[in-house]
Symmetry: C2
Subunit: 277 residues, 2 copies
């Protein structure tokens, strides 16, 4: 079973497109927890336990843990272990280096930490991607068009008549021999999601930006034209509550997004392209 | 004192341009050491102690340590502490993420681990660079043109009549308000180093690829037209010996490169542009 097929199966089973982003910050943790860095792990584990029923993926943002050095890396390992088998564990690490180094990054994330998927920067090209692509049953999400303002500085620059992110989308589509590639495409720019789909019809799209960053579910799904996507929300879910019941509040917010997503699994106007395979 | 000035002072003091890359692999370690991952730390510390007299920088490649997870991060911290004050400690981490995440990566590397400099991917643009740029007395080396074959996939793509790496070089030059920016420019493509200098006259260039990757010192210095560079060599130095005297062998190889570099500090045909400031 390819990564794309696994994702498809999870979507159909749970009728969800939800990826919950774990970007915990100590000073934003609910009152009862706000003590030591170790609280980050507790916080994430409680969110996972309460919300996993609504999600098909959890995305751990490495930056928020690396901030605590070796202790943070320990927490990544512990939190990853708590992600249940019916959810994809995504390492949001955005690594990118020449082959020799990339091989070690891939090993650390996909072998040692046993993540199901990882985000990778495409800037250094094919041989920097190769050590990740060799993991044929995992998901490799390359940065395509990100949701931040600075995307215009490089990703939106014109390359031979199309923006660079379109060039990247074509490249990644060509690397997708094993059904293990995906693209990060910010939900804050739905018109570009439509463009990406014209050159990367089969790639799962990891779309941050719905929720706190202002993207809208219906708009981005219409733009994608299918449900071969992961809609990633972080702050709007993990900080939904600020008291002792934060995990329940997070689960409720995840449940609301899940309810909105269920509708798309019966709608005829948004056929899931992966059903064809 | 800006980062560029600190670099200039070190060059003049030591008459060296040498940056030693620490990319240790367990299976390549000299016989007497090849036991546990902890040997990597011992190996690096011995190399540093023996070779620091010849170098003005050490570059720790995070991938080779992250391979060992939290233990690897501990080793990074310990090895970094051993880099003496008359050498720049560079974190070769190639991070790149939106502002909120970048802030944590910058904190981890520049505050917690107290590196003097770091490599950063420019792919996500200005706001992803900003949290690093705020460290005005450190060095932020952005990936410009890397030395690997895959550089052609994105970095060499044409943007408005010039290759993307030239666009990146211009951007980074414009970000260099505090004398804290630099560019990674592979020594394997000297003609492009010359191009980069036309738009980024003041940026220190971190140039990997001299030595094992085949770049030639004289050629790249002629291309740069000045000595505002760090010539990075890794395997050719750290694996110079394979026995118990590996540290001495590494120091000898570093010394050979240092000798070749000394010549450029008296040559009139390669004026150091930073002397003007």
């Amino acid at each position: 079973m390819t990564f794309a097929q696994r994702l498809h199966r999870l979507r159909e089973q749970k009728k969800s497109l939800l990826c919950i982003g774990l970007d915990p910050e100590l000073q934003k943790l609910p009152g009862p927890l706000q003590t030591t860095p170790a609280a980050l792990q507790d916080f994430c584990e409680q969110i996972i336990a309460a919300s996993a029923q609504h999600a098909i993926a959890f995305k751990i943002n490495f930056a928020f843990f690396e901030r605590y050095g070796a202790a943070g890396w320990e927490m990544i390992a512990r939190v990853r272990e708590k992600i249940p088998a019916d959810c994809i564990a995504i390492a949001d690490a955005k690594r990118g280096d020449i082959g020799n180094s990339a091989r070690h990054y891939a090993h650390a994330i996909l072998t040692e930490l046993a993540f199901d998927a990882v985000t990778v920067s495409p800037y250094m090209g094919r041989d920097s991607a190769e050590p990740f692509l060799e993991y044929t049953n995992r998901g490799i999400f390359f940065l395509g068009l990100t949701s931040n303002p600075g995307a215009k500085d490089i990703q939106l620059q014109d390359v031979a008549g199309t923006p660079l992110f379109m060039h990247v989308a074509r490249l990644v589509q060509s690397w997708n021999r094993a059904g293990n590639c995906g693209l990060v495409a910010g939900a804050t720019r739905p018109q570009t999601v439509r463009q990406i789909r014209t050159v990367a019809p089969d790639l799962p799209l990891l779309m941050p930006g719905v929720g706190a960053q202002g993207g809208d579910l219906q708009t981005v799904l219409a733009a994608a034209g299918d449900t071969n996507v992961l809609i990633s929300a972080s702050r709007s879910i993990i900080y939904a509550g600020s008291g002792a019941d934060f995990a329940r509040a997070a689960a409720e917010e995840a449940g609301r997004m899940h309810d909105a997503m269920r509708a798309y699994f019966s709608a005829d106007d948004l056929p899931d392209k992966t059903k064809r395979s």
